[in-house]
Amino acid sequence: MRERLPALTALLLLAALVAGTWWAAHYTHSTVELDPPRRYTHEPDSWANDFVMLRTDEQGIAVNRLEGRFMQHYPDDDSYHVDAATALVKQKENPLTTATADLAIMDEAGQRIQMIGNAYVHRQPDTKGDRFSIRSDQLTIYVDEDKITTDRPAVIINGPNILQGIGVEYDNTSRQLQVHRNAQVTLTPAQPPPAP
């Protein structure tokens, strides 16, 4: 039994070595996640300066452009927060609308853009050349329906007339505007054309 002692101790040492390395490997694997799941906390996971995002419809025609000075993307609700933002919407043959605000939040896969802080929407003048703009402290743009809504007080300038009210809904396709509460409209008479 005595002469087999060195062989036995070598075997034991070898087994200890194998167990030790197996434990070390297992331990490191369990602490460091190989493929960690997406982090769903409301912290930005990507950001960009002088951000421009262009969204196209199925035919590849651009319908929406969102640009701004600084963008942060939040993974939990997949929303883009853009500072000093400008959002342009051009749907089929509807007139182009340009919206600016201090902060824009685009979510719902780009369907909805909330313009927050000095929100101002300007619609391209129509055939009659009348200016049409909506100003409020918050406006929500629904890109695919081409609608602009707010439940805050808003001032709408339409050609020479000024419309005010609380709660406004404007559909750019049918070009219908609804004011839900306290509508006040000032119609300034069209100036007679200057005498020739």
Partner: protein, 163 residues
């Protein structure tokens, strides 16, 4: 020719159609233009091609459309009421339709009053004309007017009160 005054319209809700250039005001509508103001439940304003406005005022809940025009320099107040009123900003003509009554009072005293199916009041020339019409009960226009002397006396009286 003084610049045309703005028309200010207050209401509960507003539906504006940019293609038809039509605004529909609903609920406690108050239309003010210079010293003319009009109360109704619903006013539809159509913008004409030349940019002038054509307003049609009707009532649902309240009994009548009420119109009031003050001319302070002549101490004169004209009050009108009817079931429907139309106003055309280009010709500044107000038409009261349906059991229309228009009274003119100077210094608070009623000087003349007219009833008829339809009364047309022209703001520019400050004249009004009433038409009997088929549906009003007596088919005729009823008008009561004070003699000129009484009107001047009322104005003079007002002037003293004013000083």
């Amino acid at each position: 020719q003084p610049a045309e005054p703005d028309t200010v319209i207050l209401s509960d809700t507003l539906d504006y159609d940019d293609i038809k250039r039509q605004s529909i005001f609903n609920g406690n509508v108050i239309l003010t233009r210079g010293n003319l103001n009009l109360h109704a439940d619903r006013v539809t304003v159509n913008e004409q091609a030349d940019g002038s406005q054509h307003a049609i005022a009707t009532v649902q809940q309240s009994p009548r459309v009420l119109v009031r025009q003050e001319t302070p320099e002549k101490y004169e107040i004209i009050k009108g009421q009817s079931t429907r009123a139309e106003y055309h900003s280009a010709s500044e003509q107000l038409t009261l339709i349906g059991q229309a009554v228009l009274t003119r009072s100077i210094c608070g005293k009623v000087i003349d009053s007219i009833q008829g199916e339809r009364i047309i009041y022209n703001k520019k020339t400050d004249t009004y004309q009433a038409i009997g019409g088929h549906s009003s009960a007596n088919q005729r226009v009823r008008s009561v007017a004070r003699p000129r002397a009484q009107i001047d006396r009322a104005i003079a009286e007002c002037k003293q009160k004013a000083q």
